[in-house]
Symmetry: C2
Subunit: 374 residues, 2 copies
């Protein structure tokens, strides 16, 4: 590639129905392009306060420490682990897909010990297995699990898993990257202690930020640490000084101003629609999609009841080249759907109906395009 | 603050002449709002390759591992330290401002030992002091310093400092957050082993990404580590699989698509202008600014020769309320300039002429507005 030949990049216009990013609302894209202001500008500081209130609504929480981390969802995950795990801590991780494995990586890199509770990919986390692990590891400090597994389209019962964690004196740490804004996530009611999400799924926003929220119990653990948090960038003791509370903001890092404009607008859109209405829309559109998929003779990987309405793992029929179908959808129809990850590679497509992408126009387009290429 | 009252955020239009973010080029803002595509889309992957080539040009390097970290400059700093420092490693840090102190934090959080070489804030790093430290610490592994101190507007002699590091078998690790695109930064010629920068200074781009580059020597150290990198998100062994080289991209994290559109456009603009022309523009505009400041009877904190043309520490005259001046410039003139940090708080203003903000219109506006409020 020659430097001289590089021009401005004008992306193709795709329909995004993979596992994320999903279609971005036009108002969000417009917000991204607004004039940048300083990260300590009083107008920006006020916008940050609004983002916190809007995120509290999205997460259904009163937690004061409810902010977007200035980096993608993976950094949100890491924020939770590096702040809460100290060397030697035992963390029980319920794994039923790719992202539980990433949690294990995080725990180990913090010097903790990961106790893995495995469920088959494509099934929900089994609370009985978690309880057995809690009984066998009475000194465990944290229970971590993925509410909505992006790699399989499975939803687990977060409320029950958090209750179990607390019965055994553990903090609960929950991945809601794919659920927030698409299906119910109730931080206070479910007593989630640490939660992270992404912006590029059901919030209809561009990728790059990770909303997080921490309960008072979690903050007590962070403030009572014996060791410094190993990451300076993600150390909540420092980040709180910038995003936090009542006092004057202390400079920590330079916030990604325009990305935050986008998230603010996405959250205003969510508020305008209403959380319950957004959940209902995702559910209703899933029913339309399901009927269409089944009418084509296709089936779902995940059993009814555990399925996420916003992310569908569709079994690739025998004799069909899954990669070719995806490639043709992209090149001939500008339609992106996702491949399987890990042990499900080649076996499933992941078709997202997330956020702004969850609408009838997309669904009918996707069903017809699928028919056309198969 | 009531949820119900929160509306779309329409920022004021400011002139950004602080220490960053600086004014964003309109073409960059336009690029930020373009339609999002998938992070594994072939069109996006090609754009990533272009970003690498453009960054190699900006850094003046052939280093294959030249990429933007998906988070702000502080995360770029952390990327360099967590990948290069292992527990027990001695790192010599030349500190002459705020950001050397942040380097120390990083080293210690990696389990390393920081040997501090102190110079007065507002002066350049003294190579003689570095050499003495290298002689006294023959087992040091890395020499780290800030090329252009954002807190003081001082430029240090990166070439000489890197030469010294190599004479004593150390890797060189250099902060160029404020210099890249504004004054010469020559990674290959100066033999810099690890470098990070920001997008929101002389690149005229929004904040949120951190360009980094690593020499083969640095990569050898990373690949030969005894311990895993403590950050999963910033582990270059994994990031290389996504951004890297010849083979198929492996999913690591979801890239901040639209922020990368912005950086791509900013780098195309830099290429169109030409690096040498950009450096000359920053220098020429500084001369105009300097003449104007001196004509007002004001003086600079940093001695001529060590001064960064793109970031000027102007002494606050006796009897002038520095905070009130900044506040009036912002509210009455929509003009942002910066305060002093740390030990220089209250003593200086930091006035940036960075990237797109380095132009005569801004300079004459700033000089006249300063006159008006003082």
């Amino acid at each position: 590639m020659k430097l001289d030949n590089i021009q401005s990049f004008v992306p193709p216009v795709r329909t995004l129905m993979g596992p994320g990013p999903s279609d971005i609302h036009p108002r969000v894209l417009q917000a991204m392009g607004r004039p940048t202001i300083g990260h300590l500008d009083p107008a920006f500081v006020e916008m940050m306060d609004e983002v916190k209130v809007l995120l509290q609504y999205a997460f259904q929480t009163q937690n004061a420490l409810t902010i977007p981390v200035s980096a993608p969802g993976s950094a949100g995950m890491e924020t939770c682990f590096v702040n809460l795990v100290e060397p030697g801590d035992k963390v029980i991780i319920c794994q039923n897909g790719v992202f539980g494995g990433r949690m294990k990586e995080n725990v180990e890199r913090c010097g903790g010990t990961a106790i893995m509770v495995e469920d088959e990919w494509g099934t929900a986390v089994d609370p009985n297995k978690l309880e057995a692990a809690l009984q066998a590891n009475s000194n465990a400090k944290i229970v971590a699990f993925v509410h909505a597994e992006t790699s399989t389209g499975v939803q687990s019962d977060a409320k029950t898993l958090c209750e179990l964690a607390h019965q055994y004196d553990c903090l609960s740490l929950v991945d809601t990257v794919t659920s927030l804004g698409g299906t119910p996530v109730k931080v206070d009611e479910w007593e989630i202690d640490a939660i992270y999400s992404g912006t590029q799924k059901c919030l209809s926003c561009t990728p790059g930020l990770s909303p997080v929220s921490f309960s008072d119990r979690a903050i007590d653990k962070i403030k009572g640490r014996k060791n410094r948090v190993q990451s300076w960038f993600l150390d909540l003791n420092l980040v709180m000084g910038y995003w936090g509370g009542e006092t004057k903001r202390a400079y920590h890092h330079t916030a990604p101003i325009n990305a935050l404009y986008g998230l603010h607008e996405a959250l205003v859109l969510l508020k305008e629609e209403g959380l319950e209405n957004a959940w209902a829309r995702h559910e209703n559109n899933y029913q339309v999609f399901r009927a269409g998929i089944e009418a084509m003779g296709l089936s779902f990987k995940v059993k009814e009841g555990d399925r996420l309405p916003q992310l569908n793992a569709v079994n690739v029929p025998a004799g069909v080249n899954e990669a070719e179908v995806r490639s043709r959808l992209l090149t001939e129809y500008n339609l992106e759907i996702g491949a399987g990850l890990g042990s499900l590679a080649g076996q499933i497509w992941r078709i997202g109906l997330m956020g702004y992408a969850s609408n009838l126009k997309n669904i009918w387009y996707c069903l017809n395009a699928l028919k056309a290429v198969m």
